[in-house]
């Protein structure tokens, strides 16, 4: 059986790996790589994966500098006066609030908001298979939504084309970070990160403490200026007086931020009390005005206190993306000989036993992988005889998986320079192959897709919908 051939290759290939790796890559194979280095989303990592940020960190530096400058001015100019005239607790309270605000902000920015890792190729294939088998035989694109019942209410789960999985409820794909985030609230540019399940409580404590801080500073500055005017001068004179000029700046900053921050805090307090996310509130997912009788929020505990406690004091879920874990040995080595040997035993058998649509899939991928075979994987053993549909499907799936594996590695390494066209086309190819809407819509997919890929036409039809 052809399967035995693959297994016989395995141990020899595994022993061959170190030398071939050294031949094909310079230093990367020796150093074990961490998973954050090959993370597919648009995130930036610091401190060897301990700190995660969105790629566009928006105005986080501005937020930080506004807070630090305003507080600095407060401590420098208002505190001495107020300590002398009022009480020494003023800088103490200010200091505590300031520390809390900065820590919450940094925690919100640098924490993984609840990113869902993308589906492995096996999972994606399994989901595809289930969609195909449950679809009808009529000629229409199968639905990319799944309806489930949550607490006796119908909720639609959408399929994410980028992450290749049905999104869990309350999960949304952030286009700025290119990740699916659980309990997605919104992407906050001030904080430079998405706000989701894992960092919502930090975000909430940040805005609440910031409201207190701005109100406190505002109050102190007003008190300061009032006290100065009481000493006999007019307001204008008090402001013009050298140390008091700066409090005016603080006053302006605080005045404008108070309105927005207090409003935001109030809004989020409402959301927390009703166990909603900003995303759901804006879309009106559970709004009773929609007309349906029982379209209430299925996640609420119907008690304000329980909702608050569950959202803010609930258990802290772990990060699912395992940034600092090491890549498994076979993935760390670029695709040349390793992944094509490791992947095929499963894909070969899976495709061999699968029903017709995925065989068609394999045949489609054949065209491209045969084109690219010479480009990217010189070490591919082509010993399998291409006789019989099963063995050919298996061999082709091996090629296809090698091409998929190759492109996956190529995306993230300098080796991409060797075959950029191939990696682009095979990535598009993988998007095509898992898009049944496209497959069913095109009667002769292999031909049309071949011309499409080789012509390098823009694939506007296959841009993954967030």
């Amino acid at each position: 059986m052809k399967n035995c051939e693959y297994q016989q290759i395995d141990p020899r290939a595994l022993s061959v790996l170190p030398s071939s790796a050294q031949n094909h890559t310079e230093k990367k194979a020796q150093r074990p790589r961490r998973k954050w280095e090959v993370f597919p989303g648009k995130n930036r990592f610091f401190c060897d994966g301990r700190i995660i940020l969105a790629r566009q960190n928006g105005v986080l530096p501005l937020t930080l500098s506004l807070i630090i400058v305003t507080c600095g001015l407060f401590f420098a100019f208002d505190c001495p006066f107020l300590v002398k005239h009022l009480t020494v607790f003023i800088p103490v309270i200010g200091g505590v609030l300031f520390v809390f605000v900065v820590l919450s902000l940094l925690r919100t920015s640098f924490t993984d908001p609840g990113i869902l890792p993308r589906a492995t190729p096996d999972e994606a294939a399994d989901v595809e298979k289930q969609i195909d088998t449950s679809g009808s035989s009529t000629y229409r694109p199968p639905p990319r939504t799944k309806e489930i019942l949550i607490n006796q209410q119908v909720v639609k789960l959408k399929y994410c084309f980028t992450c290749k999985t049905f999104r869990p409820p309350r999960t949304s794909h952030c286009s700025l970070c290119d990740n699916c985030v659980e309990r997605f609230d919104h992407h906050c540019p001030w904080v430079g990160n998405c706000v989701g399940k894992r960092n919502y409580r930090f975000f909430y404590s940040f805005i609440i403490s910031l409201s207190f801080l701005t109100s406190f500073i505002f109050g102190c500055v007003i008190t300061h200026i009032t006290l100065r005017t009481q000493a006999g001068k007019t307001i204008v004179q008090a402001i013009q007086e050298s140390p008091a000029r700066y409090p005016f700046l603080e006053l302006v900053v605080c005045f404008f931020s108070i309105w927005s921050i207090l409003g935001l805090s109030g809004f989020h307090t409402y959301l927390v009390a009703s166990n909603l996310t900003t995303n759901e509130d804006i879309k009106g997912s559970w709004s009773s005005k929609r007309g349906a009788e029982d379209s209430g929020n299925p996640y609420t505990y119907n008690s304000i206190i329980t909702n608050c406690c569950a959202t803010l004091c609930g258990p802290m879920p772990p990060s699912l993306i395992d940034r600092r874990g090491f890549l498994p040995h076979d993935e760390a080595i670029p695709a040349v000989s390793a992944s094509e040997i490791e992947l095929p035993p499963f894909t070969a058998k899976n495709d061999a036993h699968m029903c017709t649509p995925s065989t068609k899939d394999v045949l489609e991928r054949m065209v491209h992988s045969l084109d690219s075979q010479g480009l990217c994987s010189p070490g591919t053993p082509k010993t399998t005889p291409l006789n019989g549909e099963v063995s050919s499907a298996a061999a082709l799936s091996r090629d296809a998986s090698s091409s998929a594996g190759c492109s996956q590695q190529l995306d993230h390494q300098a080796v991409a320079a060797h075959c950029p066209l191939f990696s682009r086309s095979s990535k598009r190819d993988s998007l095509h192959s898992i898009n049944p809407a496209f497959r069913l819509a095109a009667p002769s997919p292999s031909l049309s897709r071949t011309t499409l890929i080789q012509g390098d036409a823009p694939d506007t039809g296959f841009i993954p919908l967030p």
Binding site: Y299, C313, M316, F346
Partner: protein
């Protein structure tokens, strides 16, 4: 199928672990079954207990359901909102969340228990039947991945045919 991996002697963890490694190297991966999440009770972590047809010939239904139910119970315990989680949350808030740097959360403790449980289940029940459960945390808590292995050695033809019949029965 029972002779796929020699049954480990009781209490000999090293042998049992070695058997699992042997399973991975000596057997060939035939198929993977994915147990999806069950969202009927909300967003808490639960997995469906429906018995997949691919496993019909490999393992008893009750054993499988027991495993999934125990895992569900573990996750429910981790995500339970009650006195201890409130205390943890309030303490964390009071220390400006710095306490997470030195303390392990309850969720992480339960995850460690789950990992140990899965390892134990694999060694005692699943590996002797040519199956392997992957911890859901490695798959982003989306699925429980069960890998079905075929014995490459002596009983190749019999297990091969059984896996073929199992898959065509889908």
């Amino acid at each position: 199928m029972q002779g796929l991996v020699p049954a480990a002697t009781d209490g000999n963890m090293a042998t049992e672990f070695h058997n699992l490694q042997e399973l991975r190297h000596s057997a060939s991966l035939a198929n993977k079954v994915f147990i999806q999440r069950d969202y009927s009770e909300g967003t808490t972590c639960r997995f469906q207990t429906k018995f997949p047809s691919e496993l019909e010939s490999r393992i008893e239904r009750t054993l499988f359901e027991d495993t999934v139910k125990t895992l569900n119970n573990y996750y429910a315990e981790a995500e339970k909102i009650g006195g201890q989680s409130y205390l943890e949350g309030c303490l964390a808030c009071a220390t400006a969340y710095l306490i997470f740097l030195c303390m392990e959360t309850r969720y992480e403790k339960v995850l460690k228990k789950i990992a140990k449980y899965i390892q134990e289940q694999n060694e005692k029940i699943y590996a002797p039947r040519g199956l392997l459960i992957t911890d859901p945390i490695e798959r982003g808590m989306r699925v429980i991945e069960i890998s079905i292995y075929e014995d490459r050695g002596s009983s190749g033809s019999s297990s091969g045919s059984s896996s073929v019949s199992g898959s065509t029965a889908r």
